[in-house]
Amino acid sequence: MKWDEFFVTGEPMIYGAMASIVLVSVAIVVGLTYFKKWGYLWREWLTTVDHKRIGIMYIIAALLMLFRGGMDGLLMRGQLARPENGLLDAQHYNEIFTTHGVIMILFMAMPFIIGLMNVVVPLQIGARDVAFPRLNAVSFWLFFFGAMLFNISFVIGGSPDAGWTAYFPLASNEFSPTVGINYYAIALQIAGIGTLMTGINFIVTIIKMRAPGMSLMKMPMFTWSVLITCVIITFAFPVLTIALALMTVDRLFGGQFFTMANGGMDMLWANLFWVWGHPEVYIVILPAFGIYSEIISTFSKKNLYGYTSMVVSMVAISALSFLVWAHHFYTMGHGAMVNGIFSITTMAIAVPTGVKIFNWLFTLRKGKIQFTTPMMYSLAFIPIFTVGGVTGVMLAMASADYQYHNTMFLVAHFHYVLIPGTVFAVIAGMYYWFPKLFGFRLNERQGKLTFWVIAISFNVTFLPLFFLGLKGMTRRMYTYSAETGFGPLNLIASIGAVGLAIGFGLLVYNIYWSFRYAPRDTTGDPWDARTLEWATHSPIPDYNFAITPKVQSLDCFWNMKKGKEKLFEDELEEIHMPSNSGQPFILGVIFFFLGFALVFSWWVPAIIGGLGVLVMLGIRTFERDHGYHIPVSEIKKTEQRLRGETV
């Protein structure tokens, strides 16, 4: 292979990206060396097995990916702002809408959610850590290196360009001869394995490690949502694993699964993809529902209305999520009968979702509503998400879907679901739990300003797309002619996109500003909240809780503050902790190497990489890691320091 085929050439924008990647990498290396932080980075972060630090790393990675994916989105809107615009050519546009989709769903929404899960769930159930801390680190590094592998595609070899759905035969070697789709298949595979292990890890954590007294129906709603999500992950991700494996076999080894000849079946890919893909939507939305439940209840100063029906509706949604996949291709020509059945199962999801909306509304009723930044996002979620929900019901009607399918109407719908659903939720969650992690709140004034910019810009960006869809504009068109009349509405949408970019810029500035100037919180409970995570100090000590709490009710911390129950009655005991390990990071690096070799069909390096993985597994099975114990005296000292007492 020649060098000019290896690197993507001929695009000034990509040369710019290459230059900036090199510059940033050099700056990081120089900075770490100058400030002598290499050891710190390795000891405190790269080798950590602490769920809080892993959570923070997930969130940082997700924010980075938010900007990468956001940049893609912005370029798309830039290109579509005017008819016959020349900002991007077809190939470049096809690459960025593909990477936009993949990155936003798999490398932004999922890790952001998983990051918050990592930070919050062990605290909410009063546990010291997750069930398998080392596995948790493996999950993170597999996700991280999967994401990195996917991202280098745009400078080395070329990005995938067949849409995030990568339908066959378009994604076959015949119609996509570059290595782009190989990146898609292998990077997603690596990250997906990490996600599957996260799912298993958190199911065990939640089932086995709850504080004494916390029965399932006394679990905070966020933890419930995570449990259900992880069950979906466990059953949906293996389908993706297989789909991607078959794709890899077709592309690298000449398999005939999805080909146009020798018995292959292109729509089999679409079926497999959506059997995973639809539950995936609920994987990112259910934890968001959990986050909103916590926040709305906290800032209404009221317990969550209809707790039991909230749980039941989430279980119902998770079951239905596996029974609706064919609504993504009503138009493939299965009969009216099949379409009818899938229409009904799809619309049925509206019922449990509606139950949740009404429960949130009735939590607000008779409450004492405080308009904090996390609450603003949660409140805005209700009306905006409902638009996404009702248009979802409209799309579920097969006969009408023949007119919406593949149009901007669909694009508007899923952005109305995913942005207020997931993105608002993770931002709200970040504002809400930020003081728990770092010991200070993000600035509220800036936060509210940011909220208004984001919420308004969002509607300006995506509301016009509903109308564009009905006017006949399909998705994934890199350009359109002036006669179509799509121009004005597209321009409005593009202006909105600029607003969104400004909003996310403000968000980052808020984080930066607050790190420097925000007053520190010493209470550990700045929001006057209700659940167990607020019962320990902020920032949280390594061991989470000095004494394992004993729980009697759902809002146990709230009740403790009201003097109705006692959480911490036992004596201090020494605490067993897992030790750090560099193995997960090294395993991630090996997977990256293996994946990269596979993308380019370099068999010898690939085999070496595969052996490397086996060696790492071997090292792990012979290892005897007993962890370490924190003695009572040290716990006492830490507790006094965190309480602000002098030792």
């Binding site: 009221k302 209809g306 009968m337 009404f358 004492k368 009408a400 109308f467 994934r476």
Partner: protein, 319 residues
């Protein structure tokens, strides 16, 4: 919150004004199928507007009534576990709504899959619509003519489009005649349309199929049967015969303008239906996908199709 509601209202009116100048294609039907779909869409919008209204009213009322700044400092929100009756109401009403919508969906979906009501007894005009990178070929087997990137149809006569693809999956969509359906390489899918007005309509591929996808548009022109016959005769008289060599050249060219031919490519490159259906056409290149050498496997293919389609991807065109 109120400010935002206002803004939203303002924006929607603005949008309506903007779009009012140029009609929404989907809601401006020229035939019975698109009409059914437009009615379904309008009906669902009305029902959904009711749902939105309920949520918005509750939202605005609760937010304005229970904000902390309006309540006395010593107000303690009560503990509320939930309310059985309220919960029954907000389960029962959505279930009813979903039931109504389900009935509408099943009925209309059946309707748009069939020949439109009132046209069942007429002999349909069969037009094969095949996509290749990145254009549309239209074959009129009975009239024995073929066009590229435009299709003329007579008004008030059922037209049966039979779609398939010489490559990636595409989707055949004429918003003003009716909803879309996929065109795939291994089978033929069908749409039954009737144009009740003379009009020039936009048709396009709506399923992403690679680099030239944005330009996969074609014009649908509906004309009186008399004019249609004149046009057919005109093509036959003036246009050259389509040959296999000419057709292969067409397939290999990414973009071509409008073309007209006498004869159809179906004679030497039949559509993947009947004995030509299935995935068993063992050739590598797109251009001669429908290889003759496999014709003798016809019977076997047929059996394959019937047994191997799993239930959820049952295709309507089983023959």
């Amino acid at each position: 919150m109120k400010r935002k509601g206002l803004l939203l209202a303002l924006m929607s009116t603005l949008l309506l004004l903007l779009t009012g100048c140029e009609p929404l294609l989907v809601l401006n039907p020229k035939g019975p199928q698109a009409q059914t779909q437009a009615n379904t869409i309008i009906f669902s919008i009305i029902v959904m507007a009711f749902v939105l209204l309920v949520v918005y009213v509750l939202f605005v009322v609760f937010l304005s009534k229970y904000r902390a700044s309006k309540l006395p400092d010593d107000y303690e929100p009560p503990y509320e576990k939930g309310n059985k009756w309220l919960e029954i109401i907000w389960i029962a009403i959505p279930v009813l709504i979903v039931a109504v919508l389900s009935v509408v969906t099943v009925k209309t979906t059946n309707a748009v899959e069939k020949v439109p009501v009132g046209y069942e007894n007429q002999k349909p005009l069969v037009i094969y619509a095949a996509s290749s990178n990145w254009k549309w070929h239209f074959s009129y087997p009975e009239e024995n003519i073929e066009t590229v990137n435009y299709v003329n149809i007579p008004t008030n006569r059922p037209v049966e489009f039979r779609m398939y693809s010489y490559g990636p999956i595409t989707s055949f969509w004429i918003p003003q005649l009716g909803g879309q359906k996929y065109a795939m390489s291994d089978m033929v899918t069908k749409l039954h349309f009737v144009a009740e007005h003379e009009a020039s309509m936009m048709g396009r591929n709506s399923n992403f199929s690679g680099e030239g996808y944005a330009h996969m548009e074609f014009e649908v022109l509906s004309m009186s049967p008399k004019k249609f016959d004149e046009w057919v005769n005109d093509v036959k008289a003036n246009e050259s015969e389509i040959t296999e060599a000419e057709f292969d050249k067409l397939l290999a060219t990414p973009h071509v303008g409008r073309k007209s031919y006498t004869g159809t490519h179906l004679t030497f490159s039949p559509a993947p239906e009947g004995e030509h259906a299935g995935h068993n056409h063992g050739s590598d290149s797109t251009s001669d996908d429908m290889d003759h050498s496999n014709m003798d496997h016809g019977d076997m293919d047929h059996e394959d199709m019937d047994q191997s389609e799993h239930s959820e991807s049952e295709h309507s065109n089983h023959e």
